[in-house]
C-alpha cells in the first residue's frame, strides 16, 4: 500500500515542477530580457545589465495615451458590468429552475462567442442605429470609447455574474426571511442583509472586470475605431517590431501582481486565524509587535518600499560604458561582415538585386531581428495568401475610421533610425511595404 502511495507522491511533485516550469519559464525569460541592453529582447548573448528599457517604456507616448484611454474605458466597464452582472446573478438565483437554465445559456454565450464576432456585431448594430437616428446619436454611436465600453460590457458582465452566482449559492435565504419577519421591508432586507453579504464579491467582481477590460484585445481592436487602448497600442507595437521595453512592462505587471497576491494572502491568513480562533492562541497574534508585522498593510508597505528601492537602485545604474564596449565590438563585427559581403557581391553580381527584396530570410548576421519571418503577415496583401485581392484601404467604403489604418498603412513614413542603430535592414534602399512597419519601434520624431 505504501509503495504506490509514495511513487504517486513523487510523480505529483515531479509533474508539478515540470508544469510550473512551463508556466513560469516564459515569464522568467521575459524578465531577464528586460535587463539586457541588446535592442532585441533576448537572453543570449548577454550584453549589458541595464534599466533603460523601463524609461523607454514610460516615454512611449502612444502606450501612455492608450493607458489613459484604457483606464477611462475600464472605469466605465466596471461601473456598468458589475451591477448588470449582479442583476443577472440575482435573476438566475430566483426564477424557477426551468427558465433558469435557458437564461443561463443566454447569459453565458457572450463568454463563448469569439471576441472578434462581438466586436463586429457591436459596431454594426450601433452604426446602423446611429445612422437611422441621426444627429447626436450618430456621433455617440461612432465613438470608439463608447463602442468599446458597450462591446466589453456584453461579455464582461457574464464574468461578474459568475462571481456573484458563486457567492449567492452560499447565501442562506432564511436570513432575508428573518429580516422580513423582524419587520424590514423587502428593500431594507436587500440593502441591509443581501448587499453586505455580497460585498466581498462586489470587490472581486470589480477587480476582475477591470482586469478583463484592460486586457481585452479581440473585441476592442474592432470597437475602438481610430483610437487606441493600452492593449491595442501594445499589440500594434509588437506586430511591427519590438524592443525589450515590452519585457520591462511584463516585469512591472508581474511585480504588481506579486505584491497584490502576497498582500491578499496575508489578509486571508490573518482573517482565517482570527475567525478560526487560532489568533487568540498563537503567540504571533497576541504579541503586539507580531500583530503589527503580520498585518497586511504592513506587509504591503514593506513590499512597496522594497520595490521602490529596486527602482531607485536601478535608476542609479549606469550601463553606458559597457554599452560602448559592446557597440565597438559590434561595429568591428559588422565591418567585417560588410567586407565579406562586398567581396561576395563582386564575385556574384547577378544575385545582388534579390537580396534586399527578401527581408523574411536575411543572413542572420546582418539583421539582428529574431523575428524576421514574423513580419510577413503584417503587410496587407503582400505575402498573405487569403482574401484574394483585398481592396486598398479606404477607397470604396469611406468608413468612419479610415484613420485607424494609420498604423498599418504601408510606407507612410520611412523608418527613422532606431535608438541603438542596428545595422539597418535594406529598407532604405528598397522602399518595400515593410518600411512603414518599423515606424512604431522608433521614438516619436
Amino acid at each position: 500500500m505504501s509503495a504506490p502511495a509514495t511513487s504517486g507522491r513523487s510523480f505529483a511533485v515531479f509533474y508539478s515542477i515540470l508544469f510550473f516550469a512551463f508556466l513560469f519559464g516564459p515569464l522568467l525569460i521575459m524578465t531577464v530580457t528586460a535587463f539586457n541592453s541588446s535592442s532585441f529582447p533576448r537572453v543570449t548573448p548577454w550584453e549589458c545589465f541595464t534599466t533603460e528599457w523601463f524609461s523607454v517604456l514610460i516615454n512611449n507616448d502612444r502606450l501612455m495615451q492608450g493607458l489613459v484611454t484604457s483606464i477611462f474605458i475600464g472605469i466605465g466597464v466596471v461601473a456598468i458590468s458589475v451591477p448588470v452582472g449582479l442583476a443577472g446573478a440575482l435573476a438566475l438565483s430566483e426564477i424557477n429552475p426551468a427558465l433558469r437554465s435557458a437564461l443561463y445559456t443566454v447569459l453565458i454565450t457572450p463568454v463563448l462567442i469569439p471576441g472578434v464576432v462581438l466586436g463586429i456585431s457591436t459596431i454594426v448594430f450601433w452604426g446602423n442605429l446611429g445612422r437611422s437616428l441621426g444627429g447626436g446619436a450618430q456621433d455617440l454611436f461612432f465613438n470608439g470609447i463608447f463602442l468599446t465600453i458597450v462591446g466589453q460590457v456584453t461579455f464582461i458582465s457574464a464574468y461578474a455574474m459568475l462571481i456573484f452566482s458563486a457567492r449567492l449559492q452560499r447565501f442562506d435565504p432564511t436570513l432575508t426571511e428573518a429580516a422580513l419577519d423582524l419587520g424590514a421591508t423587502p428593500g431594507q432586507a436587500f440593502r441591509r442583509i443581501l448587499l453586505p453579504f455580497l460585498r466581498p464579491a462586489i470587490g472581486s467582481a470589480a477587480f476582475l472586470t477591470l482586469l478583463a477590460s484592460f486586457e481585452n484585445y479581440n473585441t476592442t481592436v474592432f470597437t475602438i475605431l481610430a483610437d487606441n487602448t493600452f492593449t491595442t497600442a501594445l499589440a500594434s507595437k509588437i506586430r511591427y517590431g519590438t524592443d525589450p521595453s515590452l519585457s520591462a512592462l511584463a516585469v512591472i505587471i508581474i511585480a504588481v501582481t506579486l505584491i497584490g497576491a502576497i498582500t491578499h494572502e496575508a489578509y486571508t491568513r490573518r482573517r482565517e486565524a482570527i475567525l478560526g480562533g487560532a489568533a487568540a492562541r498563537s503567540a504571533l497574534y497576541t504579541n503586539p509587535l507580531g500583530r503589527i508585522v503580520t498585518h497586511p498593510a504592513t506587509i504591503f508597505a514593506l513590499l512597496v518600499v522594497l520595490a521602490g528601492f529596486a527602482v531607485w537602485k536601478g535608476s542609479q545604474h549606469e550601463a553606458a560604458e559597457c554599452k560602448m564596449q559592446i557597440m565597438d565590438e559590434k561595429r568591428a563585427n559588422q565591418e567585417r561582415l560588410l567586407e565579406e559581403q562586398r567581396l561576395r557581391m563582386q564575385q556574384q553580381p547577378q544575385n545582388a538585386p534579390q537580396a534586399p527584396a527578401q527581408p523574411g530570410t536575411p543572413p542572420a548576421g546582418t539583421n539582428p531581428s529574431p523575428f524576421g519571418g514574423a513580419f510577413g503577415n503584417v503587410a496587407p496583401g503582400a505575402s498573405a495568401p487569403a482574401p484574394a485581392t483585398p481592396a486598398p484601404p479606404a477607397t470604396t467604403n469611406p468608413s468612419p475610421f479610415g484613420g485607424a489604418f494609420g498604423n498599418v498603412a504601408p510606407g507612410a513614413t520611412p523608418a527613422p533610425a532606431a535608438p541603438q542603430p542596428p545595422p539597418q535592414p535594406p529598407a532604405d534602399a528598397n522602399p518595400s511595404p515593410f518600411g512603414g512597419a518599423f515606424k512604431n519601434i522608433a521614438p516619436a520624431p
Binding site: 442562506d172 432564511t174 436570513l175 426571511e177 428573518a178 429580516a179 422580513l180 419577519d181 423582524l182 419587520g183 424590514a184 421591508t185 431594507q188 441591509r192 442583509i193 453586505p196 453579504f197 475567525l275
Partner: protein
C-alpha cells in the same frame, strides 16, 4: 378574544401534488405555550411559515387576534419567528442583531442600543452586545435569537425546533429557560419540535402531527395517558401494542381476545366498538407490572439496566412485550424465567386497528 390569539380555520397547504398540511383546525389562546409535535417532514415548519406569513394557505384562513391575515406580509404580522437555524445576521454585532427590528422601524441609534441592552439583561447575557455572532456559544446564540425576536414586541413568538442543534445538557437547561422567559413576557409561544420530551415538559397544550394531519390536541398529560390514535400512542413515549378482536364492551371497558388470552382495556376517546371488530390494545411499559396473580404469562428474554430505569424484554404468545421498572435494587432477571403480568385497564387504550 385577545390580540394574542391564533386560529387556524381549516388550513390546507399543498405543494403541487403533495399535501404538506391537511385541514388544520385549532385555536390557540393568548399567552399559551403551544407545541406542535411530529416526526421529521410531517409539515410542522410549513405550518409555522404559514402562520408567520411566508406561505399563503392553499385553503382556509389564518386569523391572528381575530383578524384574517390573508395578504398580510410577514413584516406586517404581529409574529416573530425563530428559525430552525436561528438566522442570526453574521455580519452584524450581537447588539445590532437585536436592534435590527428597531432599526428598520427608524428608531434612533441611542434608543436602539438602550433597548438591546435591556433585552440582553432579560436573557441573562449582559455585556455581550459588542461581540460578533460567531464569538458566542450555541446556547448564547439561542438566547440572542430570542432577544431579537422579542425586540419586535410581537404578540406571538414562533419557534422552529430552536434547541435541536444544542447538546443534551444545554437542551434541558434551555427548556426551563424558555418556559421562564415565556412566563415573564406573557406572550403566546408556538413551539415546534420532534422531541416529545421538549413538548411535554414546556407546553400548556400539544398538537401531535402526522403526515400533515393533526391527530390530537391536548395537554401533555392527556396526550401521554390517553392517546386517541395509534400514531399518537406509539409516537409519544414507548408502548406495547397488542392486537385483538372485540368480544364485548360495557361503558369504557372493552374486553377483547388476543394472543395473550382475554384482556380488558379502556376504549380510547370513549368509542363504541362492534363485537368482532379488529382493535389494538396499547399499554405503556411502566403500566405492565410483574404480578404473580396476573393473567398474562410470559418468558424473560433479557433485562437491561439503564441507571434510573431497567427494561425487561419478554415474550408472550409470539408477541414481544416490554416492561419498565425502577432502576436499582434486585438482581437482573435471568433469561428463560417464566413470569406473570398484570395491568390496570384504566391506564390502557383500545383503538381500532390501522386500516379498519
Amino acid at each position: 378574544m385577545s390580540t394574542r390569539d391564533v386560529t387556524l380555520d381549516h388550513v390546507s397547504i399543498r405543494f403541487g401534488q403533495h399535501t404538506a398540511v391537511n385541514n388544520a383546525l385549532l385555536n390557540i389562546a393568548g399567552g399559551e405555550f403551544f407545541s406542535f409535535l411530529g416526526p421529521s417532514g410531517c409539515g410542522k415548519t410549513t405550518l409555522l411559515r404559514c402562520i408567520s406569513g411566508f406561505i399563503e394557505p392553499t385553503e382556509g384562513r389564518v386569523l391572528i387576534g381575530g383578524k384574517d391575515m390573508k395578504r398580510v406580509g410577514p413584516n406586517k404580522r404581529p409574529t416573530a419567528l425563530i428559525f430552525q437555524n436561528l438566522a442570526l445576521f453574521p455580519l452584524m454585532s450581537v447588539a445590532d442583531n437585536i436592534a435590527f427590528p428597531l432599526e428598520v422601524r427608524g428608531v434612533g441609534r441611542k434608543e436602539r442600543r438602550k433597548r438591546a441592552d435591556e433585552l440582553l439583561d432579560l436573557i441573562a447575557l449582559p455585556g455581550v452586545g459588542d461581540k460578533k455572532v460567531y464569538e458566542l456559544s450555541g446556547g448564547q446564540r439561542q438566547r440572542v435569537a430570542i432577544a431579537r425576536a422579542l425586540a419586535v414586541e410581537p404578540d406571538i413568538l414562533l419557534l422552529d425546533e430552536p434547541l435541536s442543534a444544542l447538546d443534551l445538557k444545554l437542551r434541558q437547561h434551555m427548556r426551563t429557560e424558555l418556559r421562564a422567559i415565556q412566563q415573564r413576557v406573557g406572550l403566546t409561544f408556538i413551539y415546534i419540535t420532534h422531541d416529545q420530551g421538549e413538548a411535554l415538559t414546556m407546553s400548556d397544550r400539544v398538537a401531535v402531527m402526522n403526515a400533515g394531519v393533526i391527530e390530537q390536541i391536548d395537554d401533555p398529560l392527556t396526550i401521554y395517558e390517553k392517546p386517541r390514535t395509534p400514531f399518537v400512542a406509539s409516537f409519544v413515549g414507548e408502548t406495547n401494542s397488542i392486537p385483538g378482536k372485540v368480544v364485548s364492551q360495557s361503558g369504557f371497558d372493552v374486553s377483547l381476545d388476543t394472543a395473550l388470552g382475554r384482556l380488558v382495556g379502556r376504549s380510547a376517546g370513549g368509542r363504541q366498538f362492534a363485537s368482532g371488530q379488529d382493535v389494538v390494545l396499547f399499554v405503556r411499559p411502566e403500566q405492565l407490572m410483574l404480578d404473580p396473580g396476573g393473567k398474562i404469562a410470559a418468558t424473560v428474554v433479557k433485562e437491561e439496566f439503564e441507571g434510573s430505569q431497567r427494561h425487561l424484554f419478554l415474550e408472550a404468545g409470539n408477541a414481544a412485550l416490554r416492561v419498565s421498572r425502577v432502576g436499582g435494587g434486585a438482581e437482573l432477571m435471568a433469561p428463560g424465567l417464566a413470569v406473570k403480568l398484570n395491568f390496570d385497564p384504566g391506564r390502557s387504550s383500545v383503538m381500532p386497528a390501522a386500516g379498519a
